[in-house]
Symmetry: D2
Subunit: 451 residues, 4 copies
């Protein structure tokens, strides 16, 4: 995952980048950074932590001078949590400063690495993002544009990237358009961001999506669009299910609208007879749960209260509190739950551990029955395109049947939306989406060494 942003031609470019990153904070909370170019020099600040903490002091942001800036929010992956991997990454080549912010995951790197190292290339991070720059510097084209085009064409996997090459901005998206990337405008300034909620915060007007397979170069001579490659789009459907913010528009549609549709289709496919109340797991499944209740006789209620002050880590008593990790986030509303037949609507099940604990604390309020309905199919397969699922072994649906999961979480019933129901909820044609995490049908075969 990750969130990216680019600002071109705005005298407060870094402040706008910072606000956009703030709006995209849900896409990555491990670290973040902004780099700006003031016509002569680049200025970079990147750190571990939340954007509002990294830039808590005005002077820091003020030091990022210039009218061009790009920024990045990094997702907390299970892998290496190194300072050097925090983006934007920065490089020097033939007198130019190159900075890059990347959302996605590249998949055919092994052979490329061998080829590059044979030529003496030194790698400085453990991040796949570095490959864009080495392929660029080794490309044969005569112009910067041609060299970047060549780099993008050699790389497989998902990428929405924003590159600052001195005073040029280069924006590109893989040919399948796996991750979202949009463009907005404030007067003569252009804003690029992972999701439209970033544009909304700074009052930018939404213009369009960057097209799958498009490379856009912005400089003093204007905007120039290049084609990297053509393909049928394969948007990540999990962005709709869980990852994007409900107030964003991605892949041409409002996330909120699709999520409500998921809830409605779930209610039609998997109704719960005689249920008294529908509750969500706030806030991620709120809209799906409301959608469910609208096609159900049971009314929507708030049965769980979410605590929003949570910091990074929490100190637990030594004689550990049962289900502490879920209690620190959620508390139950007894009056809503006790003696009622409850439907909990959640967006997805990955490991199942949180849901198991949630049901346990809900049962302490003595509901009559607890039924679980999930607004997406079981997640059975890993994602190689950037969605940070746990390993195959930790995906509960990879090894357990629905009935086994039900027993594990101790629900009275458990039902998932079907892949058909999922694809019925979106507006674009069914074949425009990657459903590999649910179906195992990957866009292209993934070589063993790149898994």
């Amino acid at each position: 995952m990750c969130g990216i942003v680019g600002v071109y031609n705005h005298k407060e470019s870094s402040t706008l980048a910072y606000l956009c990153l703030y709006a995209l904070q849900h896409r990555g909370q491990e670290g973040g950074g902004i780099v700006s170019f003031d016509g002569k020099k680049t200025h970079l600040i990147k750190e571990h932590g939340l954007i509002s903490d990294i830039f808590s002091k005005k002077e820091k942001l003020a030091s990022l001078k210039g009218s061009i800036a790009i920024g990045h929010n990094r997702y907390s992956t299970h892998g290496e949590n190194l300072y050097n991997n925090i983006q934007p990454l920065q490089f020097k080549f033939q007198g130019a400063d190159i900075s890059i912010a990347h959302n996605g995951n590249l998949v055919n790197l092994k052979k490329i690495r061998e080829r590059l190292e044979k030529k003496g290339t030194i790698f400085q991070t453990t991040s796949d993002t570095e490959y864009f720059i080495h392929l660029f510097s080794h490309a044969h084209g005569k112009t910067i544009e041609k060299k970047f085009l060549s780099a993008f064409q050699q790389l497989e996997g998902s990428f929405s990237v924003i590159i600052m090459y001195n005073d040029k901005l280069i924006i590109a998206r893989d040919k399948y358009g796996i991750r979202p990337l949009c463009c907005g405008r404030i007067n003569d300034s252009l804003i690029f961001a992972s999701e439209t909620c970033a544009l909304d915060l700074i009052g930018a007007q939404y213009e369009r999506e960057i097209k799958p397979g498009e490379m856009l170069v912005i400089d003093k001579s204007g905007e120039h669009s290049y084609k990297i490659a053509s393909a049928n789009p394969k948007h990540c459907i999990f962005e709709y299910v869980y990852f994007s913010r409900p107030d964003s528009k991605i892949f041409g549609d409002s996330v909120d609208k699709i999520r409500r549709k998921l809830g409605k289709n779930l209610a039609i496919e998997k109704p719960t007879k005689g249920a008294d109340r529908v509750i969500s797991v706030p806030d991620s499944s709120n809209t799906t749960a409301i959608g469910y209740s609208q096609r159900s006789d049971a009314r929507f209620e708030i049965g769980l209260i979410r605590n929003h002050y949570i910091g990074r880590s929490f100190i637990e008593p030594q004689q550990q509190l049962r289900d502490f990790s879920v209690k620190i986030k959620f508390n139950t509303i007894e009056g809503v739950l006790t003696n009622r037949k409850i439907v909990i609507v959640d967006d997805s099940i990955v490991r199942g551990t949180t849901l198991k604990k949630l049901i346990r604390i809900i049962k302490k309020t003595n509901p009559k029955e607890v039924h679980v309905r999930i607004g997406s199919p079981p997640v059975k397969y890993p994602c190689f395109y950037g969605m940070d699922f746990p390993s195959k072994e930790e995906l509960i649906a990879n090894s357990k049947s629905v009935e086994e999961i039900r027993k594990y979480i101790d629900a009275d019933s458990l039902e998932f939306l079907t892949i058909g129901g999922l694809l019925d909820s979106v507006s674009l044609p069914r074949d425009c989406f990657c459903t590999a995490c649910f179906s195992g049908k990957y866009i292209e075969p993934i070589e063993k060494e790149d898994k």
Copy 2:
């Protein structure tokens, strides 16, 4: 406002206090602290900031040794933001360490201060909490209990206090029971906290409320209850309307239940004909809005998304973004709002500035009409019992009529719940509540110099 906690006879008393303060964080975010007693010495840590930040390191909490601890969350008042005012306050008297955590506001201090200063008393804070201790030390009683009883009897105003006097815990509540204070139990350990949500987090069993006018002393010899004074209770009804957490039980009733009732009564008193959607201002008016929708033809929807990453302060571009302060917190869901007749349900109107900006950003989505319904009467009068309203002049309803407020916030209609409707929503008899902020009927006359 403020949140308080006390733990008696638990070997991890400070960790429990910390978790309770975390659950009570909504009652005060300016600063907080915990003091423990290990049989010989007291250990105190108090700082500015959120509890999870103050105790982000295990060692800090581990240094607060002992089986007795009390803690405090301080609300950000407009007054002085001094380290010395962060509680628990600590004092020394005749070889004993006295610590105190106080929620409430005392009102008859001027004469007491004059009297004490004539006797040579030195004050060290600008906090009214210090008076408890000076009155105690000057009281004539022979026992600690009698001296504290005397102190409590001399003080007017609201107080829910927890005092640690070496290995004694003294818990007291003013005779009107203005602020909440409850007691729970984990095996042989007793837990005292402002709201029951704190007990829930640590798995303590709710026992009872501390009674209005009760002083409870806990020590090795057991629990001893004393009567400070008798009076008809006057609970703060604004705790139900806004301040307490919805998953808490206070004044004998679930906040969530009362808040839903406020929404239902509001819908009955002030319906909105032909409305399409009811939306809340998340999260404070969620339950009230759901209650409203349940007595209305318009269905409940999520029209505003709240951003939960907000830090203390935010850097804005120099050419300021319109309505930035509200946009940084909320974004609109166009699909829910556009071309619809919307009812926004909010819990209360204090200054009206946030609501005005919210309506402005909602109108950008082109709704058909925007109607505002408020789950409480207009706040017209200041509170002298601890609710931190702005000055009289800043209370919009103090000087403006409902129609003037409607114009100010630019809504198509604006209606408030009546005082009658408010009192119909609670379970206790109508005369058990203080409604001064709505009605101007203060419990007792407030002397000019103490205002």
Copy 3:
């Protein structure tokens, strides 16, 4: 120990106070603070750490507005290291803000405390400094001046204090003048400080010492001097031996001059025949060693290099390095020491542990002989007037003879300056000094309970 400062009538009073405290940093490094008065309000910042760290940001110092300021450096005592004990202490009394900075130690507190607590007085710190204020507030005098005079008259022990009472500055010194306190001037501004090196840094002109037993009150009406009590002075001679900075003038004489005299008298009393080199333990005994070499045939050399980057604590390997604590501070110069007969001149021996380790690392360079000469008599008795010696048991000379100490530190010879030689080195009459730590002759009998 401790360093204190007061600035009256300077528009940058807090910046001057900060620089003075910086110059007095050697008098206390545990914590420090400054409080200023801007005509209406007091502003206080105090923290643990060095002055340059506490005020590393300009804004912090800038927030201490006003033309009057007092400040304090706290010495790291073995006792309680609590925030509340960091000075200036602040109190409120009858609408006034009182702040106090104190250098010294009071000795007759037990009975006073009993008397005050009977009257209901609450203590808030474990510091003796608080007594000044409680005695003031309980005094019978009609004016502030008379009340403070009464307080000073009741207290025994050592005190150099600076008090800010709104826009008044009250400066006082105990009747024996045990600790130093001087006054300087920049145009119409008055500066008070523990040592003259503080005046030098800010370019203030030295005016005079505050007299023993003098209370000076400065306000808009001018400077008013009062007599607390009369006595023969008893200055702390250890200030000359070790504590004060060599570039200061205290008790009417330059510390550097006295210290060179100590070295010369030591060389006369306790010569070292046939020695090749005289070395100091930098930097504290530099001047004494130079003085010694000037009355000796052996020439002065730098045999030990001091490391000046030392922070608070140091991480040692688990298989601990021998004499690490001394090696982290000092390294030997082989070329100076090897095969020579060395005289190490040190200012005093308290515990003897550092000297023992120093000699061990010096011996690694294979000197012919190592002779130790100490510029003061053996420290045998505790100080009750503010010099922070370890407990009696830890004073090596309290239980060991000179020969036993010599064996312990493993020197070829060890000699101390006599009390006679010490008193011959100062300019004032012999009976003007307290030598209790050497002689056991305390100024007044110390009651057991106050020891």
Copy 4:
């Protein structure tokens, strides 16, 4: 400048590296870092600031696991103060982790850069240290050793480098041996460090210098020495004059011994008739001043006291104090200076600004005369081998005659040691030293673009 360290085969390698860096702190205070290898992974911590601050917490050091570690202290250059430039730098190549710590300055980079960039090489820092690694990865040799040898042979300028290549340690020094680098031993562990004072602190036994033009490779198979190139040594004589610690042995001689010799030769060449006192500018010219006094009739005294608490920056009053920057560091001892004919001995004059201010504050004590003697010739030329002098224009002796400098600093006389006197003070033959900063005779011609 900079300090470097390497530890091979010690189970607490990072703790030893940390202590060595602490001892070498004078070689660079802008930032520092340590990287260790635990047999599988490398662990790196590097930050701005002093070593004792960077590693103030035990856990940080403990996280640097493994028996091999290298470390670096970075000097505050006028250039870019970027995180990425703090060393050790880290790279990845063919599955290996390469880390490098470098002291020195490379001079023939322009053409190498062009050649490398043509091959697609991307640079990630603005540090010349990166070139070692790119030349290594592009070298044709079949073994790691041959490839590094090739890299070292291609680079001109000064380098003392320590490289960690997984579990191999590669140590190299340029053929002229411009910067120092020594080797010590603790049992079976080898320690490499810029100066011997680092070995002393950790109790390592000095073994030898790394030879000019030597590349040493240490791995499981033992120690292997390779020859990079042969040349007559050209040690930096300024290391003796000022930069190295007096308790270190470099280029085969004790710094302290050479520095005393400089003082003696200065006294012989440039005596001061009738002078009363010789004083140093502590601590850098202490030994030189003592040497001077030993060949002079005037006796050595401490006339300036240095304040050792100085932090990074200092807040000055707005109406600035004259000579503040020097007063914050030094105070005068009136008793030593007043009415005397003073000789100030300093080690060198670079800009001359500090000395000018020092003389001004010394003159406030009313000395009879102030004579300045400098223990090295005038610094007239920039250093391209790593000594961080200011630009040519800022070197006062570049444009001013000795008489003009004397007038500028306002001394009664000013004399420098001659180049002959300088070279007479060292033990090695005269042609074994680079004296370019004094003589303008560079070791090799420096190409314009590399200046």
